[in-house]
């Protein structure tokens, strides 16, 4: 996005004749610690493969590039020579000029009082100067977006919150810096420094931000707020530490302007899940200028084509629900998010604020047993269980790019899943029930999902919910409960998106009902070879593979509790069962399972174990590996698509075409060969993949496989033409006939590519198309 913005601003001056103040200065990001340097190296290797020049330089080189910098406490830096500066006001003016030339009307000094909505569609806008009819409305009101979202006929919740942001302007230096001196970013000092009219502009992201307008009494127009020097003191100290010569420089002004931040540091764009035609682009986390151009492009594509040209799920408004809209939540969360802008971003970081919002009924029980938690869509999920008597590092000390401190803990949980039986609370998954009086449910679902859902009652089907281009909008498991009702399980963060997708596409028929039953069920995943023993002892029902084959769903009793929905899936490829338990029975069933399981060596496990299991089995997870631009053909899931199921379904044409012409990327599993788990940096995701020394794609997830005793990375391999860079069809031979390397922070590791999982890892022999290849997690 930033890359597009850069190119856009570069041309803008020529196109419009308006000065944008565009100045290519380059930027230097400084590292004061080795960990920071690792994180910069990771960024550098991904920028390089995107074709953006970028290099890691030594402190001495930094001194050559910038005359004022104190380099004594630096360990290295990243230099991006193409980075540029623009003046935000001038860019806006240039864009506005260009737009007006193309017939866009701009009303200044006009305030929107109300967004008119009829039948779930935007119809117009009420302003203080009258009504304007419209088909599309874009809420890009920045810090006012939250309030504006609530001023419509139907509220649109846009979770963002303003914070005070401070930056300092100085008088010119005695010997002004050359205008080409690069911008400095010192994340360990929490500051950025750039030239400003011969002087310095420097601001930062302090540790103790000051949230603003929580009660909603927002200012009426952009106005600078009261300067607060005491608050700025830490940033000033680090500025003077970085550039001691500035001591004698005279202050011009300390500017305090509100900036809006989102709960996850990523901006918000896309169409509202409840109101059609209502688009949002807001919450830029003070990176408005650098991402603005690119974000605008994507949003325009979205409005025109119905979808943007890249995967923007991480930015989609629908990743949030109303649950992130509490002002208290936002206030607390942005206070954590703003300092994070400068904090080291290490793998597996969890937000600490706004927690314990949605919990399973077993939360206290699990917590008492040493559970450590992470959060997804407001839901608390167990990472792993710390055994009694064992202590882990403090939160801050546990930040690492290397082997984490929970390595052995998760290892023993995985071992237990492989050899005995484990329980994982997976209640966070989104659960819908779709039923109808006649065949409407089946017919609609057959149209919306790629797999054949006309299966006998009691079968579970893994299927994608595809878009017109065959890409995954959702990846879910659907159980046919009866002729006319279906139970659908999808990833946790699909709650809003999937609901909106289905609502917009299901026929408006009062005989067809869809209900969100997420909160009604607690889900326990019994994983392991002994799961079958535990369950049969608790239910007195035959659960042998003959009676209960894989991918089945039965209602049965467990302990005293009746009506427990048991499915023979585990989302990992290991043998076992998912129990969907009405919440009032949750504690009872859990206790029964734990008691009965004792003799089979049962123990609790968390999501980290689950992740290790699913990745070594080559299971793709929606949101992490799969997105709206990935088709089942590209990830080896043809068997989940029934092109010949006898009726049309969404994405069918695109898939047929792919089947004929081949795919342009292929989901591949890589086993790192010469990677030392103890000594080397761990892969995370987003690492470049090299085939015969040429860049072919990026990884999407990775985990340590305790069975293979190797790291496993999953990712997509493309085939770029060596001369033109054009994308070519990826064939099985192309994958198999290459030597692969994975680049982790600049260091390359040999990797073996595989298109199919290790069959020896499957402990139970299954029919090929019964092998479940589905999962629901994004880290």
């Amino acid at each position: 996005m930033a890359d597009y913005s850069n190119k856009l601003y570069q041309q803008l001056e020529q196109e419009t004749g308006v000065q944008t103040g565009y100045m290519k200065t380059g930027s230097i990001s400084l590292a004061q610690t080795q960990d920071r340097l690792i994180s910069l190296k990771r960024i550098a290797s991904s920028l390089n493969v995107m074709g953006i020049p970028c290099e890691i330089i030594t402190p001495k080189q930094v001194a050559q590039l910038h005359p004022l910098i104190n380099i004594h406490d630096l360990v290295g830096a990243m230099y991006v020579p193409e980075d540029a500066l623009v003046s935000s006001a001038n860019v806006s003016l240039a864009l506005a000029t260009a737009a007006s030339r193309n017939g866009v009307q701009i009303h200044e000094r006009t305030s929107v009082s109300h967004v008119l909505i009829q039948k779930g569609r935007v119809t117009g806008v009420e302003t203080d100067r009258g009504k304007i009819q419209c088909q599309y409305f874009v809420n890009c009101a920045g810090q006012w977006a939250y309030e504006l979202g609530h001023s419509g006929d139907e509220p649109v919740s846009i979770p963002l919150h303003a914070c005070e942001h401070f930056y300092l302007l100085t008088h010119p230096l005695k010997e002004p810096l050359a205008s080409s001196v690069p911008t400095i970013v010192d994340p360990d000092g929490r500051i950025y420094i750039r030239n400003w009219q011969g002087g310095i502009l420097s601001g930062g992201f302090e540790k103790n931000p000051k949230p603003l307008f929580t009660e909603g009494r927002n200012q009426l127009e952009i106005q600078n707020l009261q300067e607060d020097w005491d608050h700025f003191e830490p940033l000033l100290s680090s500025l003077l530490r970085r550039m001691p010569d500035l001591e004698a420089l005279q202050i011009m002004q300390l500017v305090n302007c509100p900036e809006s931040f989102t709960p996850d540091m990523r901006c918000i764009m896309g169409e509202s899940p409840t109101v059609r035609g209502y688009f949002v682009l807001a919450g830029m986390n003070s990176a408005g200028i650098s991402y603005g151009g690119g974000a605008g492009k994507y949003l325009a594509e979205w409005m025109v084509n119905g979808y943007p040209s890249e995967n923007v799920w991480p930015l989609d408004l629908k990743r949030f629900g109303t649950l992130q809209s509490s002002r208290t939540f936002l206030r607390h969360r942005v206070m954590e998010v703003m300092p994070l802008m400068c904090d080291l971003k290490v793998p597996r970081w969890d937000f600490q604020t706004g927690r314990q919002l949605r919990t399973s009924p077993l939360y206290d029980r699990l917590d008492a047993q040493g559970a450590r938690w992470m959060e997804k869509h407001g839901f608390e999920r167990v990472k792993y269980f710390v055994p009694p008597g064992k202590d882990l590092l403090d939160l801050d000390q546990s930040k690492t790019f290397y082997k984490p401190d929970w390595f052995d803990i998760v290892g023993s949980e995985v071992k237990c899943c492989k050899e005995a039986v484990c329980v994982i609370d997976m209640s966070s998954f989104t659960k819908f029930e779709i039923s109808s009086t006649g065949d409407q449910a089946l017919e609609s679902l057959q149209y919306l999902f790629s797999n054949d859902l006309d299966v006998p009652v009691g079968h579970v089907v893994h299927t994608g919910m595809l878009n017109e281009k065959g890409g995954y909008e959702n990846d879910c498991s659907i159980a046919r409960l009866s002729k006319r009702s279906f139970f659908m399980i999808s990833p946790t963060d699909q709650q809003v998106h999937c609901w909106a997708w289905l609502k917009n596409r299901l026929p408006n028929d009062s005989n067809l009902t869809m209900e969100d039953v997420t909160w009604k069920y607690t889900a326990l995943n019994l994983i392991g070879p002994r799961a079958v023993d535990v369950l049969s002892e608790l239910s007195y029902a035959p659960i042998t593979p003959e009676h209960f084959p894989s991918l089945f769903c039965k209602e049965m009793s467990v302990g005293y509790a009746n009506g427990i929905r048991v499915m023979s899936i585990t989302h990992t490829g290991e043998p076992g069962f998912m129990l969907y338990i009405p919440i009032e029975y949750a504690l009872h069933v859990y206790n029964e399972v734990m008691n009965m399981g004792q003799k089979y060596g049962i123990r609790n496990a968390g999501y980290y174990a689950l992740r290790s299991l699913r990745i070594e089995k080559f299971f793709a997870f929606w949101g992490q590996d799969l997105d709206a631009f990935t088709t089942p053909m590209e990830c080896g899931r043809e068997f989940q698509v029934k092109l010949d199921k006898g009726m049309q379904f969404v994405g069918q044409e695109a898939l047929l075409e792919q089947k004929q012409n081949g795919v342009y990327k292929r989901f591949t599993m890589f086993i790192l060969e010469d990677h030392d788990t103890d000594m080397d940096l761990w892969p995370w995701w987003g690492e470049p993949i090299f085939r015969n020394g040429r860049y072919v794609g990026k990884t999407t997830s990775s985990a340590y496989s305790y069975t293979l005793e190797r790291h496993v990375c999953l990712g997509f391999v493309h085939h770029f033409d060596e001369k033109t860079g054009e994308e070519l069809v990826v064939t099985t031979d192309f994958i198999n006939q290459g030597e692969y390397e994975i680049d982790i922070a600049g260091q390359r590791f040999q990797a073996k590519a595989k298109l199919y999982p290790f069959s020896s890892l499957f402990t139970q022999r299954r029919r090929k198309d019964e092998v479940e290849l589905s999962g629901y997690q994004r880290e």
Binding site: D228, W229, D230, E233, L236, S237, L240, E247, I251
Partner: protein, 535 residues
């Protein structure tokens, strides 16, 4: 002036003399009491002129520290800030008055209290309780001398006496009936105690019986009038002191208890008690602890209003009172070296029967008392010029104050605090602490020419000032930090604080007294509302 190196031999000789129990030496408030139970700063008896002449501690104060640093203890060790904090915070306690329906109906928001021992064990006590059968809250500090027995007893018992004195006739009857028929008693007080604040289990029965006799008398006396708080406070103080005296005269068949009541009576304690009920604040004071009101002026600055008079030689009215109570012939011997009969610093106190009983009574009680008492030189010792007892009373002076919205807090503290800090400073430090840094004027650059370096210097200085406020969660702790650690510029000096706190037990008392502080914070909104109602 002695050379610093002589200091320790001298002290050692003191120790030896104490061990030989020839006498206890207490030359001056700052320079006395080598952890003997019967020697305390309030006392000075059998003075040895040699020492008294040699040491005028105020002047020698710095010498002591230097002596310690350079001559006596070559290895200096400093406490780290966390160690200092753990010492300062060991006894801190906070109580917030719970809010009901989101509205805090009490004029008291809550209180912070803390104590820092200098004696081992500490001789100060503190109490806080809410009256359950009448409205109001009671808070008090008690400074014991010649041991902690009396202060302990007063801290346990006085509030019950006050609460009972305030009870209406019907409630008294109800309570008496309950006791009579063995039914559960209405709770009278809800205590707010730090875990270290203990109550003596053994004596509770004895104390209860005395209290019951008191309320029975109140029932018989039923005057039918509504109870006046001032009168109730005075009656309670006098009655408790009387009971302490009587219990010691009567004795107890249980030898432990017998010894206890004697120790209580022969030691002494001052008391400073506040009763807050709505806008009515009463402070009853006996002795030299002090109550002070923190008032915020319209310009945001802080001033102090005294709500008690010290009962000591510095108070002319008090000296006058003592003189009028005794024949003219004793005028010269009554107050010597600023002490009552040349011995006792406070002019009013609980216990201290040596200054209340006749010589005959003292002799009789001591002789019939347990051996421990008999062996003790102090109890046998009769003050000089002891002709017309009693010389001492526990009757308090009560000051009534109507709270105003600008009255933000009340500080009750033993003399350990007031010796080191002026009340004006106390008002400022607590006031600034309670309001946080909100009142620190923000800096604005405006049109001035300021360089980054200058601004940085200014900001770091401001930060240092603020950080000492943020360190404490308890206003009383914060005050103690200042009292002990303040340097000549009025800011906390960690090095000094560390030195003062790392003094060995037997030396600590020479540099500071026990400090006990209660800071009560008022709810200006409630007070403002009450005021309007009354208008």
């Amino acid at each position: 002036m002695p050379a610093p190196t002589h200091l320790f031999p001298l002290i050692r000789s003191c120790e030896i003399s104490r061990i030989c129990s020839t006498a206890c030496y207490c030359h001056h408030k700052h320079l006395c009491c080598f952890s003997s139970h019967f020697a305390h700063g309030h006392f000075r008896y059998a003075p040895q002129k040699r020492f008294a002449a040699l040491y005028r501690p105020k002047e020698n104060f710095n010498h002591f520290i230097h002596a310690r640093d350079y001559a006596s203890t070559p290895q200096r060790f400093y406490l780290t800030p966390p160690q200092v904090n753990s010492i300062l915070k060991a006894n801190e306690y906070s109580f917030k008055v719970p809010e009901f329906d989101g509205k805090n109906v009490s004029s008291v928001l809550g209180f912070d209290s803390n104590q820092l021992p200098a004696n081992a064990p500490i001789e100060d006590r503190r109490s806080a309780a809410t009256c359950l059968q009448t409205r109001g809250m009671l808070l008090g500090v008690f400074d014991g001398h010649a041991g902690c027995a009396c202060a302990q007893a007063v801290s346990e018992r006085l509030f019950y006496y006050i609460a009972v004195s305030l009870l209406p006739h019907e409630t008294l009857l109800e309570i008496e009936n309950a006791v009579e028929s063995g039914r559960a008693l209405l709770p009278i007080l809800q205590w707010h105690k730090h875990p270290n604040d203990y109550f003596s289990k053994e004596a509770s029965k004895l104390y209860f019986n005395s209290l019951r006799t008191y309320w029975q008398e109140l029932i018989d006396l039923n005057s039918g009038e509504t109870t006046d708080v001032k009168e109730a406070l005075i009656n309670a103080f006098k009655r408790l002191d009387n009971d302490i005296s009587l219990e010691a005269q009567v004795g107890d068949p249980n030898s432990f208890l017998n010894y206890l009541v004697l120790r209580v009576a022969f030691s002494g304690a001052t008391a400073c008690v506040a009763h807050v009920d709505g806008v009515d604040l009463h402070v009853a004071n006996t002795g030299d602890s002090r109550a002070m009101l923190g008032v915020q002026e319209e310009d945001g600055s802080w001033s102090a209003v005294n709500l008690s008079y010290d009962h000591n030689a510095q108070n002319e009215r008090e000296v006058e009172r003592v003189k009028t109570e005794h024949p003219k012939s004793e005028e010269k011997s009554l107050v010597k070296q600023d002490r009552l009969l040349g011995l006792l610093m406070p002019f009013r106190a609980f216990g201290d029967v040596k200054f209340k009983w006749s010589i005959e009574l003292q002799k009789r009680v001591v002789e019939s008392g347990p051996d421990q008492l008999n062996d003790n030189e102090y109890t046998k010792f009769i003050p000089p010029n002891y002709h017309t007892p009693p010389y001492l009373t526990a009757e308090p002076e009560v000051i009534h104050h109507k709270l105003r919205p600008q009255d933000k807090f009340l500080v009750l503290a033993t003399d350990g605090l007031w010796e080191t800090m002026h009340r004006q400073d106390v008002a400022r430090i607590v006031g600034e602490y309670l309001t946080g840094v909100h009142h620190q004027q923000p800096i604005a650059v405006g049109g001035y020419k300021v360089t980054l370096g200058q601004m940085h210097g200014l900001l770091t200085e401001r930060r240092a000032r603020i950080s000492s406020v943020f360190e404490d969660q308890n206003a009383a702790t914060h005050l103690i930090r200042h009292a002990v650690g303040n340097n000549e510029f009025g800011t906390v000096d960690h090095e000094r604080l560390s030195k003062m706190l790392s003094l060995p037990e037997e030396l600590a008392r020479m540099y500071r007294d026990d400090i006990t502080i209660i800071v009560v914070q008022f709810n200006s909104h409630v007070i403002g509302a009450c005021q309007n109602e009354e208008l």
